[in-house]
């Protein structure tokens, strides 16, 4: 599928309705059946796709609203990870999970997401997975000698899934690693784990690195300088980074290290309900264009929209698209 210049996309999640949060909690308290919850999930996923289309997003996701959070959705599926399903009452909390033996190789079942999103949109689609480093930080390790060993095996396990996704027709894949920014010292082995995950995967892979978005607030602070030069060893096509909230200072790192990646430029601050004007979005893109060539720039929010109210999320995405169109005109495109 041919994408326009400066393609727009989302990081993954779309606005979580409060009623769905309630339903998820009710499911955990056995007041709602799995079947009813799944029907709700399907309905909001369709609505999320439709909202993204209406906002003008070029590469859409299913909104990921069936995922409780970026950890549990995977720990529940990873063969060999034991999850205490009674360990949370609030859906957004994390389950207690532990690995006590070597991870088995098996499907995580994400192919269903590819099929679902393909059924309901003709736009390009993206599927995201949580990265090995992030999962290592949330799953208690009682088997592997080191975090690195655990992460590398998780990379192997995710590799199986990413290949499955590509085989099912996914052309855009994303790996989310928000914990890098809290543990910069892990980066050398974390990048090895990413490379294990993407080895032989026939799709465009974006590595999304932010400063966290739990509860709509950052988990860490600092500068992306810690990523360089180690990140240059990552065998991914694109890096998607957070700039709208933090300012564009770190864009210079792309120039300084001659980074070969496509840049997923965060132009929407997802930690405020204030909607950016399209002209501000355009300004941010133009500043990035001073450093990154236009053919290597993708436009996206800083992170997922899960903590934004639905109207705010929609208006932010629409503003992002409008701001992008303003810049496209600079290149003779609409």
């Amino acid at each position: 599928m041919k994408l326009p210049l400066l393609p727009t996309t989302v990081i993954g999640s779309y606005s979580m309705p409060e009623w769905l949060e309630r339903a998820k909690n009710d499911y955990l308290s056995r007041r709602l059946s799995r079947r009813d919850l799944d029907e709700m999930h399907d309905a909001v996923r369709k609505a999320a796709i439709k909202d993204q289309e209406m906002a003008g997003i070029d590469i859409v996701t299913d909104g990921e609203l069936q995922r409780d959070n970026m950890i549990d959705y995977f720990t529940e599926r990873l063969p060999g990870v034991q999850v205490d399903l009674g360990s949370k009452r609030f859906y957004y909390d994390f389950y207690e999970s532990v690995v006590r033996s070597k991870l088995a190789t098996g499907s995580l079942g994400l192919v269903e997401e590819v099929r679902f999103v393909k059924r309901f949109t003709e736009r390009a689609q993206k599927i995201s997975v949580s990265g090995p480093h992030t999962l290592v930080k949330r799953i208690r390790n009682q088997f592997y000698p080191t975090e690195e060993a655990f992460a590398l095996d998780l990379g192997r396990s995710l590799n199986f899934e990413l290949k499955e996704l590509a085989r099912a027709g996914a052309t855009e894949l994303q790996i989310d690693e928000p914990y890098y920014s809290g543990f910069p010292e892990d980066l050398p082995w974390a990048v090895k784990a990413i490379n294990a995950a993407v080895e032989g995967v026939d799709a465009n892979v974006t590595l999304h690195i932010c400063y966290g978005n739990r509860y709509g607030k950052p988990s860490f602070e600092g500068s992306y300088r810690y990523l360089f030069p180690t990140i240059l060893q990552a065998k991914v096509h694109a890096l998607s980074l957070e700039f709208a909230r933090r300012g564009e200072e770190d864009l210079e790192l792309f120039r300084e290290f001659n980074a070969p990646f496509t840049l997923g430029l965060g132009v929407i601050d997802v930690k405020t309900q204030e909607v950016e004007p399209p002209t501000l979005v355009a300004d941010r893109i133009r500043r990035a264009l001073e450093i990154v060539p236009v053919e290597r720039l993708v436009i996206n929010p800083d992170c997922g929209c899960v903590h934004l109210s639905r109207d705010v999320a929609f208006n932010k995405l629409a503003a992002m698209v409008e701001g992008t169109r303003i810049v496209r005109k600079d290149f003779g495109q609409s």
Binding site: R214, Y215, G216, P218
Partner: protein
């Protein structure tokens, strides 16, 4: 009829003899039976009558020793449930039976009390009632009140002084903060600027002690954090801020004053979003608007109050200040708009204000909440979250919705740096069942007021915003009711 004994704590040594409190309680229950037998109380009303035996911690408060609470439906039409609340601390044994009899005669839904009281306002939820105008008046005219009373406002606290300035507490706070900065530095994550914020600065004594101590510790350790420190003094009173800035003059260059509304610190300080490393407040939350909710027989009621002066109070104020009886509602309105000088010049105006506040009372009624009503739900939470809180609560309970504290808290958290934390010293109700074990306010403190803060509610607000909220006893002064609330990031 249900009798609630709401005061459950040991207040005397074991002597084997009944206490005055016990004797008063016996008098109430014995009299109630007599009243039913004598037909003073309509037997048809008795099943829906609740009697509450309280012991009000605050010697000055907003209640008469015996008061009646009627109930209405959401539209204000009378309902059967009624309550009589008796403050065993204030009650005069010689008057109690008489007062109880009068109260019982007035509990019917259509009965009206006409004891000559002068109403100053209509029924309103606590959050909107006149006490907040008096509270504002006090902080605006604090100097005049203190001059008239001959003591500073901190002396009006039950302990006679503020726990905010306790030297050991301040020293521990400094050490804890320094250790946090050291950890960040060790990980290469120390920000270039280190903002700290105090909300409600009082005289500036605590901030000054904290800055002195921090500077000394930083110099001793040779860490250079003081040079990066920016201490923000936040208060809504310009006078208070000026006083505090003066107290911190020796730290000029590291101190800034921010006029802010305690309900929304973020509005004034949005430039510090996710940057503030340390937020502190003492006795701020207990002085912010709240609502009271009551659950009886599975139904939720909002407490509404109407300000009044008793007939005796009006007579005395009329005699002492030469004001006509019928003018009081207008005079009080003028006092709140123009200050004491708008009523009488100089000390006489303050004297009138002080006497009026002393006599000032609130009549309560319980209005049943419509299922769809949400006005009592505090910022930061939704109706469904309040429902969760209610599942933690006893079936039969009266409790605060500390909406001002919740709003302030919710609007402070976005200022916090990911490794920053908030510490609040105040009086908290940590668990909902504690509301059945004693009176939690409001009480009067000089010209202002105080109400315990619903910590369980703040815990719910914090959880929604990604913070776990913890409570620890204030360990520096034995017997204190102060608790330290602090936040940690939820994983």
């Amino acid at each position: 009829m249900i009798v609630h004994i709401n005061h459950i704590s040991q207040t005397k040594k074991k002597t084997g003899k009944p206490s005055q409190l016990g004797e008063l309680a016996s008098l109430v229950t014995g009299s109630l039976v007599n009243f039913v037998e004598d037909g003073v109380l309509d037997a048809s009303l008795a099943p829906s009558l609740r009697i509450h035996l309280d012991w009000i911690q605050y010697r000055t408060n907003f209640r008469d020793p015996v008061c009646v609470r009627r109930t209405t439906d959401p539209q204000g039409r009378p309902m059967a449930l009624a309550e009589i609340a008796i403050d065993l601390r204030q009650a005069d044994p010689a008057q109690l039976v008489l007062q109880l009899g009068r109260a019982l005669q007035s509990v019917g839904p259509t009965s009206a009390t006409d004891d000559g009281r002068v109403y100053l306002d209509d029924f309103r939820p606590y959050r909107d009632c006149m006490i907040w105008d008096f509270n504002r008046l006090f902080w605006q005219h604090l100097g005049e009140w203190e001059a008239a009373s001959g003591r500073g406002f901190e002396a009006a606290l039950p302990s006679g002084k503020s726990d905010a300035n306790h030297p050991e507490a301040v020293a521990d706070s400094i050490t804890e903060f320094w250790e946090l900065l050291k950890k960040l530095e060790d990980r290469g994550q120390l920000p270039g600027e280190i903002p700290a914020l105090e909300i409600g600065v009082g005289s500036g004594a605590r901030a000054a002690a904290w800055m002195d101590g921090f500077k000394a510790l930083d110099e001793q350790k040779g860490t250079g954090y003081y040079a990066k420190l920016q201490f923000i003094l936040g208060d809504y009173s310009a006078t208070t801020l000026e006083r505090a800035v003066t107290a911190l003059a020796r730290h000029a260059g590291h101190v800034s004053a921010a006029p802010l509304n305690a309900l929304n610190p973020f509005k004034a300080l949005s430039a510090y979003r996710f940057k503030v490393m340390y937020v502190h407040a003492t006795n701020v939350y207990d002085n912010l608007p709240f609502d009271d909710l009551v659950r009886r027989d599975g139904r939720l009621y909002l407490v509404e109050v109407r300000a009044y002066l008793s007939s005796v109070a009006v007579d005395r104020l009329s005699a002492d200040f030469g004001l006509p009886r019928n003018d009081f509602p207008t005079v009080v309105k003028r006092l709140l708009e123009e200050g004491p000088g708008g009523i009488f010049p100089g000390e006489r105006g303050v004297a009138f204000w002080r006497c009026l506040w002393d006599y000032f009372r609130l009549e309560e009624r319980l209005r049943a909440l419509d299922d769809r009503e949400e006005s009592h739900v505090p910022p930061g939470l939704s109706w469904s979250h309040l429902e969760d809180l209610l599942t933690e609560a006893p079936e039969d309970v009266r409790f605060h919705i500390s909406r001002g504290a919740a709003e302030s808290f919710a609007n402070t958290l976005p200022l916090l740096h990911p490794r920053g934390y908030l510490q609040v010293q105040d009086i908290f109700v940590e668990h909902m069942d504690e509301y059945r074990k004693g009176f939690k306010g409001p009480g009067k403190l000089d010209g202002s007021l105080v109400a315990w803060v619903n910590g369980a509610l703040l815990r719910a607000v914090g959880a929604r915003a990604g913070y776990d909220v913890h409570f620890a006893p204030f360990p520096y002064r034995p017997g204190t009711k102060t608790t330290v609330m602090y936040t940690t990031q939820r994983p």
